[in-house]
Amino acid sequence: MSAWFSDLTLLGCFLCMVLPIASFGLIMIFTRNNHKLSLAISLLCSTIPLIIAWSLLYKYWDIAEPIVYNYDWILSDFIKIPFGFLLDPTSLLMLTIVATISWLVQIYSIGYMEGDPGFGNYYAFLSLFALSMLGVSISSGLLQLYICWELVGVSSYLLIGFWYEKFSASEAGKKAFVVTRFGDVGFFMGLAILTIFYGNLEIANINSAAVAQSMPPWLISTAALLIFCGVMGKSAQFPLHVWLPDAMEGPTPVSALLHSATMVAAGVFLIARIYPFFSASPEAMAVALAIGTITLLLSSTIGMVATDIKQVWAYSTVSQLGFMIMGLAAGSYFAGYFHLTTHAGFKALLFLCSGVFIHHFGTNDFFVMAAKGGRKLIIPMVTITIAALALSGIFPFSGFFSKEAILGALYHHPNKIWFLMGLLGAFLTAYYTFRVIFVMLFPKNPAPEEQHGHDEPHEEHYGVPWVMSIPLLVLATFTLILGFCQGYLERFLLGHTLHHEHNYLLLVSAVVAALSGIGLAWIDWGSKKAKCVGFISYVPALENFFKEKWYMDHFWRWFLNVFIYGTFSRLFTYNDRRVVDGGVDTVAFSTIGSGRLLSFFQTALLQLNLLFMVVVVAGVGLYLLIGR
């Protein structure tokens, strides 16, 4: 036990696990109804991990060998599960991202959730989330990672359904949990197969075994594909992406933290975590590339027609996750992970800004926000524009650098179709992002409320509480500077800087794609003469198809109703009632019935009994006489 305290790194990792769970437990059991105290506990238990994460990042900036701690958690026979920490650049960076954004969101939520009756619960759930996500970052073994991964799902379920009185919210929470569980079963099967055929599930071990080719290729491919199922669930990849847009029912800070920056990035992180293993399977890489591309295009097109600001960002998140997976699957670990990092910053920023608007105007429709004078909220409007520029991939914002990296990776892929798809995705992303920005910045029809607004006292002010604006400014700063840290991050993550050849074709095509997206958005929504209809509405069939979200929700609903409820559940229930139970009841009742029948003969009437006797004796006598 003394080792826990003498080794500061170990103590730090340990505290990252213990403090959030302690905070969760304390708040849930004792201080749920005391908002101030709950807040204090939760903030304390998220500030310390933040400090730990940054100091670990600083301490191990030049780390050469990964640091591993392992303790026995379960020792069965061939199933041995260690509990431990693995610190290497991949995990340290994720640890820092998670701790930082989670801390900023906790600060922001002070303003956003103020006065909510469930304030205490909210912070308890955020602590649970922090525990599980920090656990995903620094787990040393895949099974431990899986456990944290499942806990991430639970906290996401609780937070999406936070306003559980709303049917849509409770439904969305359930949907999120079940759909991600769908992928997680695949993940678990992959782990089971790895345990059975390989045994040791330590991440470092698996990676080195795959590199050293000491694992049979079929095993790598099967396991990698099954693990990828988990990624598809958690990172909302086609066809399991349907839960993420619905998850926007949760409070907006939750959407910022879980459903854009960290939780959904866990899937991408998992691939990065086991990248040597994953990339050893060409099949898994090909499937991932295809799924990532489909997801990118599908969700960008849906984002083009959504009118709910959170829906737009949700689909944008789905598409950017697809983009990250494309980068990883195209062979560049750095590109995918770098985009994860920058995306975490600017997407959290987008959501938090939108949260300010939603909080202020009480609506999710950005057309209404624009009409009510959304642009008068100066800080959020400026920061949301910065984030949008980053999302579209405009120099010098962070998104530009990471998108360049991914497009570069796709460009070097032998099949150029992926590169073109990536460009198309970049174009669509810029278009739908700036559709929102231009609508908000240049409202076409003045607010209808303002015309008869003289009934209300004129105390409308556009101030934003500092607890909400500080996180925005911090994230905006990150968005501005992170791109220039590319070289440092390369050296940190890869141990060396990449050789950048100056490929002007690549650079120009990426910039042209982004700028033409913004330009088209300007023509459609921004300029004074804009008709405020998207170019897509010239093809009504296609527009409708996008508005119906490619009918994916319909498909799953149909699948659930027809197969799960309609066929299996009904058939089994019927069978249970009629066949299994009915059979038993029939046996019982026929026993009772035959007893009744027999009791008919057991009357106390002597004459009748005598008659029976005579009849039977006569019958036997007759049989003996004639039968011979």
Partner: protein
Amino acid sequence: MVEHVADFPYLTCMLLAPVVGLTIILFLKEEWHFLIRVVSLSAAAIALGLSIYTFVNYDTALGGLQFVEKYEWVKSFGIYFYVGVDGINAPLLLLTGIVIFTGVLTMWELENRVKEYFAFMLALVTGVFGVFMSMDMFVFFLFYEIAVVPMYILILIWGSTRKIYAAMKLTLYLMAGSGLIIPGILLLYATSGINTFDMIQLHGVHFAPWVQKTAFVLLYFGFGVLAAVWPFHTWSPVGHVAAPTAVSMLHAGVLMKLGAYGILRVAMFLCPDGFQYWAQLMALLAAVGIVYGVFVGLAQTDLKYVIGYSSVSHMGIVGLGLATGTIDGINGSVFQMFAHGVMTALFFSAVGYIYDRTHTRMIYELGGFSKIMPVASGYFIIAALCGAGVPGFASFWAELLVFISAVKVFPVRGLLALASIVIGALFALRVVQKTFYNEPNPKFIHYKDVSPFLGLPRAILVATMVLFGIFPRLMLDLIKSAVVPFVNGL
């Protein structure tokens, strides 16, 4: 198996605590409700304390059978009062202690025929303790019957929803099961060649293959009825629904484990070859039960039926683990017996509080209970999350061990059963959403939340789940110390 004789008759005391409590209650006046409750609670507390003592003080390094007491009973038939603890029954004794203690607390508000109720409940639990600690086949069976009979009366008098039908069905089913167990036991006794019911000695006898095959299948189905092995499970949801809260807790939490424990301790222990012969069938029935339970549960509208079918499914996991015959599988299986016992007791306890207030368990009539009684609902939601196999609770580890070893031994059945955990999640969350989320039903809005004292039993159960969920080795090392020699003897 190494035996370590007890320096103090802990096990006898554990067995006698409820008996003494019962006797005292019989001499109390019917109206002295409070005193009756206090007496039964103290009896339960003593039993719980002793079960914790044996659990904690069992020396895993030493292994074997500890706290042994052996007295001759009927010499001419070789019947002994022979009790002992090893890694397999220590968790189950602990489970029984926890469930009876929390069960008495849960029924604290009972006003109807309090004296008889607690008397029967203590009688029932005596039987359960007796089964778990007996190492003599005859005494084992004797206690087994003692455990089954009070259930009939408890359901018949204090039950609800078709209670006569349910009580009758349950009892007939279990009697039919006993009807298979007796010939199985006698067959083993008769063919052993040694005049004893001592299971440890019988284990040393190598029975002829036909004896093993016959006896195993008789015992498997006989005990399997109580373990709700598919397709002999239909008594269990009906029984759960009809039984009063604490009886459901004992019934699903402990009594169903008697069946699984019987399969493990008697059938598999004495007929290893028979087990090898029938393992395929066991795995099949277990896997079908797992899948079947969740799908049928999905269509239920009564909260207790839902839990009843989840028990069918979770007991299927126990069966699947046993069928693998591997160390991991049986470890998981025993762990699952414990975990499921605690979880399902929590389920019924939580539902009981709500039912006592609203007098309905229909999912579509309830709704929004998180708003009306947040704490009481919280307990149910925790149980539902356990049921959905969320990590951090004991049941997660058990399922993990069972599923991985099942995939290894029976790949198709294992994967099929594993896939059903998606439906398991849907199943649990559907109930949570419909009952506890959404807008509250105005009819129930004035009900008070559970008080800390009444919430205590549920808090104990949750704490147990979490303790063993975070530190699984506390349980697993103990179980393993018995399972390793057990499997090597298979």
